[in-house]
């Protein structure tokens, strides 16, 4: 296909609808390798939108690029767990083999090598994306194999499938993961309950949102149903970007029926006819299987018009793909992204239940929440509320990774103690656990008696274990870099603050920090917490605070005794001047002057 025809095909696939701009650009780039000026011009003209809308998208999403990248784009996952599994050595191996620097494209345009935020393969890392296809368990052998394939210019479709095999690693299954749901079961149960009955059971279950915030799902559904408006939407948030989380990947692989029927049951309850499943770009490989499932559901009357013969139960689901932006996990940013815009969180209120997708009432629920909803409609709210704790009902799926013998997926009733999880996963020497990713909390052994529950240790699901060899300062520095990379840039405190924070942590790591920098970091985290627009900025200072409060020796050993050391190395800064004047004599160096 010619370039023009590829662009046109992508446009036609989405009826030239600007709300699908992100999908159109993803498809066009998939065919052509990048978003060229020609693509920009063509798409802007055909969609009748300013070209700046395309520029703003391309420069916002990490996976889109307006410069030609390599024919093979390698992105190594840069979560702390990847680093612990040796990602840095593999990165160097790639760079040496291709003779490129990190973030650059080889001169022949064959390959580019770069880092990317956590790819959700923490239990089988280090993770790699090759043109958005995921490869787990990088080691020297796999790196050499990939280098060979790239140098031979082997089409990605011809690469050995063993490279792409991703394990589910379900280590402990409870109500949700124990067995697959019989197709149609949740739909039949919902129909039997009736629309009001579903909402009543959801409220009785006290199910709370599993994305981290813990909002009561029944109230959300009721709020959406009661909001004025003729059209409503159900959005499934599968933008699982919190470093250390990968449970939604496994749920979408093993329990997709539950997630999709959970969406349909939600649609039935609130009166929505369209569902949107937003999947992070890193999980592109899940798409084909899910599309096939959706087709099978349509063919068997489990999606479409009059589902299971129930008049008026019309519902269908479409898949939207993200393109590398953590902030899109925030529900209003996700809606912006669904509308084909950069994922900048909206001003709230109004909340999505009254003004969401296309400003219509919208339920945005996490993958796990919707899967749990099938348990509620099938077994009833009372049975569901019988598990877990009073304030946190049901089970919780944890993504366990890091220094333990059995990383993977663990499902427990809420209220399970950290020590219990650590024992189950074979963490013999756990020194600390990062719960709920960088924005969560770091817990030390004196807190391992605490429970996973909204009222105690709340979590979206990440559970990263670290043993006594690990240095939390370096982990906090990795997290600081993550926040600076993922800040959307909308509000001043987060846009500037996350970068200042990352620079200050780097300065301390280089041995140039003093208590002055610590005070600055405290001030920054307080400023970000109190004035940022969304949760990203509000929590961006958490890792520093945990590092300073709980790991002070690790911090202090890096501090200089002096009150302040300048960020600039004056001697080094004079280097260009020496080079320009061809001087290397003693007087051209600082020491000589003093």
């Amino acid at each position: 296909m010619s370039d023009l025809a590829s662009i046109e095909a992508a446009i036609v696939r989405y009826n030239a609808n600007p709300h699908y701009l992100l999908q159109i650009l993803r498809d066009a780039q998939g065919e052509l390798g990048w978003i060229s000026p020609e693509t920009t011009r063509r798409v802007a003209a055909r969609l009748d939108i300013p070209r700046t809308r395309i520029d703003s998208l391309v420069r916002f999403y990490a996976f889109l690029h307006d410069t030609p990248a390599g024919a093979y784009r390698l992105r190594l996952s840069d979560n702390v767990t990847d680093r612990m599994q040796g990602s840095e050595a593999q990165l160097q191996r790639f760079l040496a083999a291709f003779g490129v620097a990190c973030g650059e494209t080889s001169a022949d345009g064959l390959v580019s090598v770069d880092l990317t935020s956590c790819t959700g393969l923490c239990d089988q890392g280090p993770g790699l994306l090759v043109n958005e296809r995921a490869i787990p368990r990088l080691d020297a052998g796999r790196v050499d194999e990939i280098v060979g394939l790239v140098k031979r210019r082997a089409p990605l479709a011809d690469w050995p499938q063993t490279l792409f095999e991703i394990a589910d690693n379900v280590r402990r299954a409870d109500a949700l993961l124990a067995e697959p749901m019989k197709p149609g079961r949740a739909l039949d149960a919902a129909i039997a309950l009736g629309r009001q009955g579903v909402i009543d059971e959801m409220k009785r279950s006290a199910l709370r949102g599993r994305g981290g915030a813990g909002f009561p799902t029944g109230l959300k559904w009721e709020g959406c149903r009661n909001a004025p408006g003729a059209e409503r939407f159900i959005v499934c948030n599968a933008d699982e970007g919190e470093p250390g989380t990968f449970k939604d990947r496994v749920l979408l692989t093993r329990q997709a029926e539950r997630v999709l029927e959970g969406m349909a049951a939600a649609g039935f309850a609130v009166g929505a006819r369209r569902g949107l499943l937003y999947i992070r770009g890193e999980y592109d490989y899940l798409r084909a299987t899910l599309e096939a499932r959706l087709a099978a559901m349509r063919a068997s009357g489990r999606l479409g018009v009059a589902i299971r013969g129930a008049a008026g139960f019309d519902f269908d689901i479409e898949i939207h793909m993200g393109a590398g932006a953590y902030v899109c996990g925030e529900e209003s940013a996700l809606i912006e992204s669904l509308e084909g815009k950069p994922g900048r969180p909206r001003i709230r209120p109004p909340f999505p239940v009254t003004r969401g997708y296309l400003d219509k009432p919208t339920v945005v629920d996490n993958v796990e929440t919707l899967a749990q909803a099938t348990e509620v409609v099938i077994h009833g709210g009372a049975a569901f509320a019988g598990r877990g704790t009073r304030a946190s009902t049901g089970t919780k799926v944890l993504s366990v990774s890091g220094d333990c013998e059995r990383p993977g997926i663990y499902e427990y009733p809420f209220g399970v103690r950290l020590s219990h999880v650590l024992e189950d996963c074979g963490a013999r020497d756990a020194a600390f656990v990062q719960v709920s990713g960088p924005s969560g909390a770091c817990l030390t052994p004196d807190e391992f008696h605490r429970a996973i529950a909204f009222e105690d240790v709340a979590t979206a699901g990440a559970f990263m274990v670290f043993d006594s060899r690990r240095d939390y300062f370096e982990i906090a520095r990795n997290f600081a870099r993550f926040f600076a990379h993922e800040s959307c840039g909308f509000c001043t405190p987060c846009r500037v603050g996350t970068s200042l924070q990352s620079d200050l942590m780097d300065k301390i790591a280089e041995g140039r920090g003093s208590h002055y920098e610590v005070n600055e970091l405290m001030r920054l985290s307080e400023l970000m917490r109190r004035t940022s627009h969304c949760g990203l900025g509000q929590t961006a200072g958490n890792p520093f605070n945990d590092a300073w409060r709980k790991f002070r020796p690790a911090f202090e050993k890096r501090l200089q005794a002096r009150d302040f050391a300048p960020a600039i190395d004056l001697e080094a800064a004079l280097g260009p001047a020496r080079a320009a004047t061809h001087r290397e004599d003693a007087l051209a160096h600082l020491e000589a002057e003093t």
């Binding site: 916002f60 001003i347 970068s499 400023l527 627009h533």
Partner: protein, 240 residues
């Protein structure tokens, strides 16, 4: 029209139903510092200078609606310190050299720096490599001075109907881009008469050849500090 009141720094203050805290405060003669909000173009909620404390929690006065009985803190040393830090952040993320800027004296960022008693930039400068776009015969775009308030984006879209500007990029790398084939202002359809050419609160977008029509010393904030027009109460909004 509601006769309800909310507490503004302890003073019962009337508000009209639907008004934001920023609007109600302005009507009451109380100035809340802000950069990205404009009476004509609406609230944006991004600069965060209008951060206030509402019933114990921080919120943006430009987007938060006033409600009966609400307790709002605006003028406290703690909030002044937060606002000063934010203004300092805006200074260090760009390249602001007031003595050489045509906007000096008319610049809201500079005026807020004075109002908030900012005596230094405090944070480490980023010194980003941005550029000047002088390609248009009548309008000048200097990205070094942009504070990303998106007033030009909104003015061009909502008032001029042109969509000349957009914010592109992410995080600290975000910057204003121009809707033209070359990305240059000279190839866009902006005109010096556009609202977008006049709305910039800083010196990032300037109309050419009028920079010193008003001499330094006789400019808006040379005469009175920013916010004085609100405090005076008898000066209507249009003189802003």
């Amino acid at each position: 029209m509601s006769e309800a009141t909310f507490e503004l720094d302890g003073v019962p203050t009337p508000f009209k139903s639907g008004q934001t805290i920023l609007e109600a405060s302005r009507d009451a003669g109380v100035y809340v510092p802000h950069l990205c909000c404009d009476p004509e173009l609406g609230a944006h909620g991004s600069c965060k200078l209008c951060t206030v404390i509402v019933n114990g929690r921080t919120a943006s006065a430009c987007t938060m609606k006033a409600l009966a009985g609400q307790e709002v803190e605006i003028d406290t040393p703690e909030l002044e310190a937060l606002r000063r830090s934010l203004v300092q952040m805006l200074f260090v993320e760009g390249n602001h050299f007031c003595p050489g800027c045509e906007k000096s004296g008319d610049c809201k960022l500079q005026a807020l720096g004075y109002l908030l008693e900012m005596t230094n930039p405090h944070w480490v400068h980023f010194f980003p490599d941005l550029g000047v776009d002088a390609s248009h015969p009548d309008v000048w775009l200097d990205r070094n001075r942009c504070i990303q308030c998106e007033l030009c984006v909104r003015a061009s879209r909502d008032v001029d109907g042109k969509n000349v500007f957009a914010l592109a990029g992410r995080g600290i790398a975000s910057k204003i881009v121009v809707n033209s084939p070359s990305g240059l202002l000279g190839d866009s359809d902006i005109a010096a008469t556009d609202r977008a050419a006049h709305v910039c609160p800083v010196g990032a977008i300037l109309v050419k050849r009028v920079g010193f029509a008003h001499p330094i010393g006789e400019r808006i904030y040379d005469r009175a500090p920013i916010g004085a027009e609100v405090l005076a109460c008898d000066v209507p909004e249009s003189s802003k």
